[in-house]
């Protein structure tokens, strides 16, 4: 045993003297918080990295003296691939670039239209990038990282946004892993998040003669703001992020609310369109992923006011039915809600009122789901619901037959029957609203 111990010791000494290969002092690492890829010139891509300077973020009174007040720096490099762009950024960064903590991957819209399969592959192949990073598109990826935010670090703001946005019931977080899983499974097309600034001008992208438009009227159509979309403006490499405090002191109120998050739909690895707000909710009703948020309906009592309810949970079941050679999908949506705001004099505790309310809700949910389905079927022609996948699972033979023409022919004309069963679980904390 003593011999073994000696051997081990000698071995350890040998390693100790030869240096530690992967060991990196944390203060010598450039932590990348978020990463954006955009379309560049001549088939190249522009990779933007948000490189964090932890020294400037030090809170409290530690002995360390921050070398510079710059919280984070954005590098932008152009290359044909992500690794080449990162190594180009490494040339100008005095610390080792580490992409292990990237929590947001932003894909520029123009690039997404052309297909992003190989870039997703880069993230998956590199095991240090965690596949739980959130994926979003934006009109320009670099623009999103440059926005002035609530918190000093863009990546922290974005991570917070994407984890809380699903509470609105109008979006859901999508990770790289999920994107890839949907990309590789038969009969289902991937989605990602889509982030738009409220101030952006209407996005018009032409592709194969089709127009893709933001249909959400909530987007204020304005001129692009200064830093936002000027991808071509001269940005010196390693230029600091705009100081958020400076920005806010100039009088403009800048918070995270300037961002709106929807869903981007893909066919294969190519972006084909967006679903915003209520459209996105229409999609989420169908797949049963509405996690919260408020629903407004007209008072069935006829007061002319709105009644607000909040979603407790939702679920759905999608079943393919084959009858006399015709395929149709039976979608059953279950939603549990509770009332949150009622007109004066309304008493919830009556069967007829609840029935009327539930019927109105069913109609609303059905309308939203239908509207989105129409858009997805007719305009986008991509099966983001995974109807094909249901067919594949229950009837693989039929699927084998339908697969070649699914997205182009079958899916756009697929008959879908919705059954909505909403249920008001609670009146909130009060049965009625007092009147004199």
């Amino acid at each position: 045993m003593r011999r073994v111990g000696l051997l081990v010791l000698v071995f350890l000494m040998a390693i100790g003297f030869s240096g530690c290969w992967d060991s990196a002092e944390i203060e010598e690492v450039a932590i990348v918080g978020s990463l954006a890829i955009d379309k560049g010139e001549e088939g190249m891509i522009v990779v933007s990295l948000e490189v964090i300077n932890p020294g400037a973020l030090a809170s409290g009174t530690s002995g360390a003296i921050a070398e510079s007040p710059i919280v984070s720096v954005m590098t932008r490099d152009e290359a044909y691939s992500i690794p080449a762009a990162i190594s180009s950024a490494q040339q100008r960064t005095p610390r080792r670039i580490c992409t292990g903590l990237v929590n947001t991957i932003v894909v520029g819209q123009a690039l997404a239209l052309e297909g992003i399969g190989e870039y997703i592959d880069c993230f998956v192949r590199n095991a240090t990038v965690r596949s739980s990073a959130v994926m979003t598109t934006c009109d320009t990826g670099a623009g999103l990282l440059q926005r002035p935010f609530m918190f000093p670090l863009p990546s922290r703001t974005l991570a917070g946004l994407y984890s809380t946005a699903p509470l609105s019931g109008m979006t859901k977080a999508v990770t790289v892993s999920e994107f890839l899983a949907k990309l590789s499974e038969p009969g289902i097309e991937p989605i990602s998040l889509h982030t738009v600034g409220r101030k952006t001008k209407d996005v018009e992208v032409k592709r194969h003669g089709e127009d893709i438009k933001h249909t959400d009227p909530a987007i204020v159509r304005e001129q692009p703001t200064d830093v936002y979309t000027n991808l071509d403006a001269e940005l010196p490499p390693g230029s600091p992020l705009l100081d958020p405090y400076k920005e806010s002191s100039s009088g403009e109120f800048v918070t995270a609310t300037t961002i709106n998050i929807g869903i981007a739909a893909y066919r294969g690895d190519k972006l084909v369109g967006f679903l915003d707000d209520y459209e996105a909710r229409g999609y989420l009703w169908t797949v049963g992923k509405v996690e919260g948020g408020a629903v407004e309906i007209d008072d069935p009592g006829g007061s002319g006011k709105k009644i607000a309810l909040s979603v407790i949970r939702s679920s759905s079941s999608i079943k393919p039915v084959l009858e006399q050679g015709a395929l149709r999908m039976e979608v059953e949506i279950h939603v549990d809600l509770e009332t949150r705001q009622l007109p004066m004099g309304t008493v919830v505790d009556s069967g007829s009122f609840l029935d009327a309310l539930e019927n109105a809700l069913n109609a609303l949910i059905l309308r939203e789901a239908r509207t989105t389905l129409n858009k997805v079927q007719k305009e986008l022609k991509t099966d983001i619901y995974g109807f094909g996948n249901r067919v594949y699972r229950t009837n693989p033979k039929l699927w084998a037959e339908l697969e070649p023409r699914w997205n182009e022919e079958v899916f756009p004309d697929l008959e879908v029957n919705f059954t909505v069963k909403s249920r008001i679980r609670a009146p909130g904390a009060a049965y009625g609203v007092s009147t004199r």
């Binding site: 350890l12 530690c20 060991s23 944390i26 903590l101």
Partner: protein, 532 residues
């Protein structure tokens, strides 16, 4: 002290050997004493296993016809001087025990009883069992040839040094009495807790110059015989000059002296000794040492405190799990911190990582080096705090913790995160009940620190497996150190990690019948006010 009658549960004899079923029926009378004195003495001696401290003093009185009288007691428990004063001298001065003097009615025992007026109360025993029980409790017995009964009276001796609170193993509840430097006093403490005829006390004299009195204490039939034999062999083969403490003896009988894991448990609590003896371990008492050594001791005794016997099962279980966690943390905290920060910082949530990175900004030394230095300094501070006279202790703590730590951080010598983690490890090591063990056990954090700073998680994992192999390969007196059972008792890991209520614990049986027998006579909880 009166012969104690226990209330509630009658103390069940350990083992069924030598017990007479019919005797039990007669309300504990057992084998009656015989008329022959020699036979009685032999019976007592063999029942107690020829203990080294059994004293038999034969008296021959003047006159004719005089019966032989024997005064029997356990020297370790009884105050010998008092025996001489109150029994021997009056008996010697007694001219004769004649039938005529006191009339025909009185037998020799009655005569004796009346002729010993200095003793305040004398009892009579008619059975061997009662008599040995009385002897074990610190009574002196007087046997007369030709009489099938014996007299006994209480002569428990007071301790030579005042028993004190055990300083190395303090508990909040439970007995607050510690062993002292005298073997006989310690034996008295143990005998006071285990009054059973099968408690064996063996005497060995070790040390060419010191001739130290070493006692093996165990319960025959419960402690595995081969372990006792092996220990006896090792003790008998020791050839050394001096034995001053159990620690010196430990070095001579241990299996693997260079292992960081200490396989002998040192304790200064008589209740711990009694409890462990009852589980089949052997206690070694050394003259001049207030520490008893318990062998063979297992790894999991590391998380056992004397308090566990007295706490309710739930709190004891929580404490045990907590102690195990504390031990692992005390070993792994710094190596893991270095590995995570230097290799796997992806593991840390970004806000926390940024804080760590920010505090490490501008620290000149590499983290592994800083960690090594910090750990060494912490051990020095700890050692200094223990060694200094009590009044200086706080001073060292203040200097070490506050001034040194605070200013090292402020000067940017050491990252504060490291200080926090290293301190946490040190504090965790104090949560391990056996401080003297924890120090040695914690030594393995230095190799782990080295591996962790070279190879990160994989290094620590490989090192941890190597240490698991090391612990698993250890054997003490033929019993595996990592075994989950005490020698006389099978136990699962779950039993080691949690405390099971005594009513669900098997009574320790002699090894031959080590089947799991549930405790028989547990009073069933019953509501006294319940109607039905």
């Amino acid at each position: 002290m009166k012969p104690r009658r226990s209330f509630g549960r009658t103390p069940r004899p350990i083992g069924t050997l030598g017990e007479n079923k019919s005797g039990q029926k007669e309300n504990g009378s057992g084998n009656g004493l015989e008329a022959d004195l020699e036979a009685n003495l032999r019976a007592i001696s063999s029942l107690l296993g020829n203990p080294s401290d059994l004293a038999v003093r034969r008296l021959a009185l003047h006159g004719e016809p005089q019966p032989d009288i024997a005064v029997v007691y356990l020297a370790s428990v009884v105050q010998s001087q008092e025996v001489s004063l109150t029994v021997i001298e009056p008996l010697l001065s007694l001219s004769h025990v004649s039938h005529e003097a006191q009339g025909e009615v009185a037998g020799p025992l009655e005569v004796l009883r009346l002729s010993l007026p200095t003793i305040h109360s004398i009892y009579e025993a008619r059975s061997l069992k009662d008599l040995t029980a009385a002897l074990l409790e610190g009574n002196v017995a007087i046997l007369v040839d030709g009489e099938p009964a014996a007299l006994y009276f209480d002569a428990v001796r007071p301790p030579t040094r005042l028993y004190q609170v055990p300083t190395s193993e303090t508990t909040v509840i439970g007995p607050q009495i510690g062993l002292v430097e005298s073997v006989d006093d310690n034996l008295a403490l143990i005998r006071a807790r285990i009054r059973h005829p099968r408690l064996r006390v063996e005497k060995h004299v070790i040390g060419r110059k010191s001739k130290t009195d070493v006692r093996l204490v165990y319960i025959e039939g419960v402690a595995p015989r081969e372990v006792v034999d092996e220990l006896r062999r090792r003790l008998s083969e020791i050839d050394t000059d001096l034995i001053l403490d159990t620690g010196m003896l430990r070095d001579l009988i241990t299996d693997r002296p260079y292992s960081p894991f200490v396989m002998e448990r040192m304790t200064e609590r008589p209740d711990t000794v009694a409890a462990e003896i009852n589980l089949g371990r052997i206690a070694i008492l050394v003259e001049g040492s207030p520490f008893a050594m318990l062998v063979p001791s297992q790894f999991f005794t590391l998380i056992e405190s004397a308090e566990d016997y007295y706490l309710n099962p739930l709190s004891a279980s929580v404490l045990k799990v907590l102690r195990m966690f504390a031990y692992m943390l005390s070993v792994l905290a710094t190596p893991l911190y270095v590995a995570i920060v230097n290799f796997h910082f992806e593991l840390v949530p970004l806000p926390l990582l940024l804080n760590i990175a920010a505090t490490q900004e501008g620290v000149p030394f590499p983290l592994p080096f800083a960690a090594f230095i910090t750990e060494v300094v912490l051990d020095i501070v700890r050692e200094a705090g223990i060694r200094l006279p009590r009044q200086f202790g706080p001073v060292v703590s203040i200097f070490g913790a506050v001034i040194l730590g605070q200013s090292a951080v402020q000067a940017g010598f050491v990252p504060p995160g490291l200080i926090i983690v290293a301190m946490m490890g040190t504090i965790c090591s104090f949560a391990v009940p056996r401080a003297e063990k924890a120090l040695a056990y914690r030594l393995i954090r230095f190799p782990l620190l080295l591996l962790g700073s070279i190879l990160g998680f994989p290094g620590i994992t490989i090192g941890a497996v190597a240490f698991v192999y090391h612990v698993a390969s250890l054997k003490t007196l033929g019993i595996p150190y990592a075994a989950l059972y005490a020698p006389g008792q099978t136990t699962r890991l779950s039993r080691k990690m949690v405390k099971v209520s005594a009513r669900h614990q098997p009574i320790t049986r002699p090894l031959a019948q080590a089947d799991r027998v549930r405790q028989g006579e547990v009073p069933e909880p019953r509501d006294p006010k319940a109607n039905d």
